[in-house]
Symmetry: C2
Subunit: 341 residues, 2 copies
């Protein structure tokens, strides 16, 4: 064996609607011996992301559901502790799909080496990672904001939304962010220089959103689902584009008012305004856009055109609580768990 004792968090039960701590269980384990080509990894930073919620349900999604007792999946920045793969050495930093655990044994073919000199390693899980690429690819392939247009994004202080808004501005479009609470809204306006920020927890949200979009909405980047759609729908302009990359509000069972069918109104608006609604997953677009993404965003970070915020929680044992908080919108910035130094 590897003479290492690790901990991991598994799916203990499928959530009924809202996720609770009882849906998780922590286990001790000893990583197995390495086969040829494999690496023993120590997880430094684990990324917590909304898509993980949908994997907890036993229903067809774009990926297979987790089984009960299986380790929660997720991506991390990890350090190589031991290697049976000539391409990797002890001490290398890698981006790896380790899941929610302190250690993992993975094939070297399944990980990607990262250069800690290029940018802080944590950015490879956020603005320079999957969330950042989701924003970039969705805007390039579907949103296509033009100068003078209005781009609206929800969860705007999160890792996807904050880059969406900054990409809108780089394209010369008006960036309107939706976030929960005055602190996040103030951050969007003062730190990220969004043209407007609207608090979806405030009573007059509908009116405030309409005021923030005096020329309507040309791009709505849909990464939350749920009630916000109903406020966005009447503001959408002719030929509006709606990239759909996530529906976190619906993942967690918060479906909107079930006593009415909102589908016909949406379909009518799609027709009347000749809109396009398109679902996408970042990896479908990687071949076309990934290299441009790394080049563009690293340059924009260096030039100060793109800023990012991280919300780092200490200790793997706190991952479930942090994840539950994220689904309720309580994190502020890209949510990471600091697992080991």
């Amino acid at each position: 064996m590897t003479n290492t004792m690790g901990h991991r968090i598994v799916l203990a039960a499928r959530p009924h609607g809202t996720v609770t701590l009882d849906d998780f269980r922590t286990e001790a384990f000893e990583p197995r011996d390495l086969k040829a080509g494999e690496l023993l990894l120590e997880v430094n930073y684990l990324s917590l992301d909304p898509y993980m919620r949908s994997r907890m349900d036993d229903r067809k999604s774009y990926a297979d559901p987790l089984k009960i007792g299986e380790v929660m999946r997720g991506e991390s920045v990890s350090t190589v502790l031991a290697s049976k793969n000539s391409a990797y050495h002890a001490g290398d930093f890698v981006l790896a799909h380790t899941g929610w655990q302190t250690h993992a044994v993975l094939s070297g073919d399944s990980v990607r080496k990262i250069d800690p000199q290029l940018a802080p390693v944590t950015t490879r899980l956020g603005v320079m990672g999957m969330p950042g690429f989701t924003a970039y690819a969705g805007m390039m392939a579907i949103g296509k904001p033009a100068r003078g247009e209005t781009v609206v994004v929800a969860a705007a202080s999160g890792p996807v939304g904050s880059l969406v808004g900054q990409l809108a501005q780089i394209s010369g479009a008006r960036a309107v962010g939706i976030a929960g609470g005055s602190t996040k809204c103030a951050y969007l306006r003062s730190e990220l220089h969004f043209d407007a920020a609207v608090d979806h927890l405030a009573k007059d949200f509908d009116k405030a959103l309409a005021s923030a979009c005096p020329s309507g909405i040309d791009v709505y980047f849909e990464n939350v689902g749920g009630r916000i759609w109903h406020s966005v729908l009447p503001l959408l302009n002719r030929f509006a584009r709606i990239p759909v990359c996530g529906l976190v509000a619906e993942y967690d069972g918060n479906n909107s008012d079930l006593a009415r069918d909102y589908l016909p109104a949406t379909m009518r608006q799609i027709l009347n305004q000749r809109m396009v609604i398109q679902g996408f997953l970042n990896y479908d677009l990687a071949e076309r856009y990934y290299d441009d993404f790394i080049k563009d965003v690293s340059a924009w970070i260096a030039e100060g055109k793109v800023k990012y915020k991280e919300d780092i929680v200490e200790g793997l044992e706190n991952a479930p609580q942090a994840f539950i908080g994220m689904l309720a919108g309580r994190n502020f910035g890209k949510l990471l768990v600091h697992v080991a130094r």
Copy 2:
């Protein structure tokens, strides 16, 4: 005055849900004198189309609603009776937005001359007209069927749907038509050579549609709205395309089960299958596709690759009843009213 007595049908009342005969009124009128550049037209064939239903409501659509007392709008093939426009002479056939009336005075600039030698004049209201172009443009710009894919269209024996299915076959795709009743389904299979036809009035519609699409659905051409969407949704494949050109079931107030919100399921499927839903109106795409349409479809008709069916009702006075029947799916083929020889 023009010494001609005409009749016209006006909107008498806004429908409450389903359209009734009381929503229309017939009036006699005398066409006004011609100004320079104008034509006096006699309507030969009036086209009845689903989009007319949405104009009867007082609600924002892609066009302005009719006012009470206004002539029902619509396109016709008409003959020039008198001309104060040097480009037109008595006896010329034109395509004109005359509305539901026997005679109209219009500017020569607003009509299009048609050559009765190219094809029967009635085709310019159907397979070679607006409905045909809607099918062609939606398939070229959004549907993009590939060889071996499956294309599903509802109202498949209608003027849009029947061309959608035939275009699918010309592209090497599998054509599955949905229609109401065994007569229409038999016509799709035997006359138009659809690969399958499914009767949406039959009890086992869901199962029959699934059996007709053993490899799922790659293109669903949405021209009806309403309940059929719920049967189509679970069959849609990854990267499916859904051009939306009409929602006739919803125009007529037949919204599906209002006790449930079907929007979240649709949004989840858009994301999971990375689908695109795009609304379009034929005239948005005219500049890009209209000339190709006329060239391609006239050639395909001549080669026997495209067939069409017309359902011609005699007399303007029967237009309201025929229109109500169309909204309920009772016509069979492109619905035209023969107004005058």
